[in-house]
Amino acid sequence: MAGSPVQVTGTVLTTRRVEAYHALTVVAPAVADRFRPGHFVTVGVGGPYTSMLTRRAFAIHDVKPDYGGTVEFVFSVRGPGTAWLADRRARDTLDLVGPLGRPFPLPRDPCTCVLVGGEYGSASLFVLADVLQRRGCRVDFVLGASSADRVFGALRARRMGETTTLTTEDGSLGMRGEVTDVLAGVIADARADVVYACGPMAMLRGVTRVCVEFGIPAQVSVEQSMACGVGICMTCVVPVIDEDGVTRMVRACTDGPVFLGERVRFDDVGTIPFDALGAPGGRHG
């Protein structure tokens, strides 16, 4: 079945440092074959007798046809699991499951797209930009982070994008501030039809707010901690307004990670909104 995820033991092809981040390229033809922009993979960490049971989820940064198909993902070291991953070397094996999640929906006709990335969330935007450009879309980039070494892929964005705007909170690269401070200007200048965004939850909330003002859709890829990535652990839920207008707690891994921004109740993330379906003391059925 096309698009259904598989579990593979992949061999690490290359490891590299990119600014403050790590990138691993793994030979995994079955995952690469099924990949579409926006998909993610989960990685088992710690080896065969690991004490770390939850899988780590990473957006796929790039897919290449070498060795039958490779996938690359980008991560930052945040704990013992990602520290173990950062210690992997070429020819080590990794337990991968993927591709997972709903990919970015693509426009039917050529249009102008602004791609917004925060921190290493921008990693998943370049393959998307590639697909959009092949469909005749104009692509503009807005990338931001706390400091220059945490902006991922600025060079590649400059090469691919019609325009590229960079922001850092400390002003060490591009404009001082956040991506949401410059987004309105970029949308207006490019006459954008759609915004794609990937990054921290707070940034996605800001991006969605700007897009609502312009009346254009924002396709946001949310980041939520998860244990399994395949939809069975029920730990990665976010409050999302469904097509019938009812808020449901939906899984970021299988119902997302890409959502229409205006549907996500960003202000209520981390809570159960009182009007969500099945909320305590709330609406029943």
Binding site: L53, Q224, V230, I232, C233, R248, V269, G278, G285
Partner: protein, 324 residues
């Protein structure tokens, strides 16, 4: 020769002893992407409640050494949507389905059992006794043997006679054996253990509890010794009652450990989060281990660790060859 892996829950025959643990297999559709859910012994659903439930706020999960804490809060669509969309999907595929039910009162459990009584495709009903009793200031049913027995008895009465009722027990109770005995006296045809004991972790960076709910259920290999202890004690006290053993089963060896302690079937939970193919792998490993130890039947290994020290493995008595 292939090992006879058939397992019996009451009078219901399962082709093999590997089940999914409640709340760890989603709706069945998610795992069906990886393996055929009809090939495992039975698919156990998440605990179904009467009304839809949104569950607990996030974060719902925290990784701990060799385990994880989770507080999902029985998120689910409610029994009507469950029967319409999830149970019928499983039934259509021919999966053996054990429906787990959870309620806040004896009346809710009874209503659930009654609603499911004539739904097709139910192999057994599992009663999740680790739900807070709203009529007893939120004390969980499993902590109060008489309330647990009352729930089991009323579910037993509302369920069709040919559908076994399984009582699911938690390990963090004063005396798991007396709880088990009360549930069996209440009419439970089988027992499953263990549900997750309550745990907690504090994030030292945010200096707040790691889970939004504060406490959560601990699962994974960290609790396997607890599971083995409970299965051992209950099998010793009630040798005739079928036990579904669970708690941190990651490999065939772990499954065999529970079988030797007295479980006639084994459920796989947290391992599925790590490895979506875990059920099939564990089944294969268990069969190989039984074969290597010279067993013809899984049933011969159940509770074998209870034999006196020095005694050899139990052998089947060949009646035809008896000289008496």
């Amino acid at each position: 020769m292939a090992v006879d892996l058939r397992s019996y829950l009451g009078h219901v025959e399962l082709p093999n002893p590997v089940l999914t643990a409640s709340g760890c297999g989603g709706t069945g559709r998610e795992l069906a992407q990886f393996f055929d859910v009809t090939r495992i012994g039975a698919f156990v659903t998440r605990s179904i409640t009467m009304a839809p439930r949104a569950g607990r706020p996030t974060p719902r999960m925290a990784e701990t050494p060799s385990g994880m804490l989770s507080a999902v809060g029985l998120q689910g669509p409610g029994v009507e949507v469950f029967a319409e969309r999830e149970l019928s999907w499983l039934a259509q595929r021919g999966a053996r389905t054990i429906v787990s039910i959870g309620g806040g009162s004896v009346a809710e459990y009874t209503a659930l059992a009654r609603r499911l009584a004539d739904a097709p495709g139910i192999t057994a009903v599992e009663v999740n006794l680790s739900c807070p009793n709203v009529e007893d200031r939120g004390r969980v049913f499993a902590r109060d043997g008489s309330a647990a027995a009352e729930v089991v008895a009323s579910v037993r009465a509302a369920t069709r006679y040919d559908v076994p009722v399984i009582a699911k027990l938690a390990p963090d109770v004063a005396d798991v054996v007396s709880l088990a005995r009360l549930c069996v006296d209440g009419g439970a045809d089988a027992l499953s253990m263990i549900n997750t004991p309550l745990g907690m972790s504090v994030d030292v960076d945010t200096m707040r509890p790691s889970l939004a709910a504060g406490t959560g259920g601990l699962s994974g290999p960290a609790i396997r010794p607890l599971a083995v202890r409970c299965v051992w004690q209950v099998h010793a006290a009630l040798p005739g009652v079928p036990i579904v053993g669970m708690g941190g089963v990651m490999t065939g060896r772990d499954a065999l450990e529970l079988v030797l302690a007295g479980a006639c079937a084994v459920a796989v939970g947290t391992a599925l989060f790590h490895d979506p193919y875990a059920c099939q792998r564990i089944l294969r490993e268990l069969e190989e281990l039984l074969q290597a130890r010279g067993f013809d039947r899984l049933a011969d290994a159940v509770g074998l660790a209870h034999r006196p020290a020095g005694a050899g493995p139990r052998n089947r008595i060949e009646l035809e060859e008896s000289s008496l």
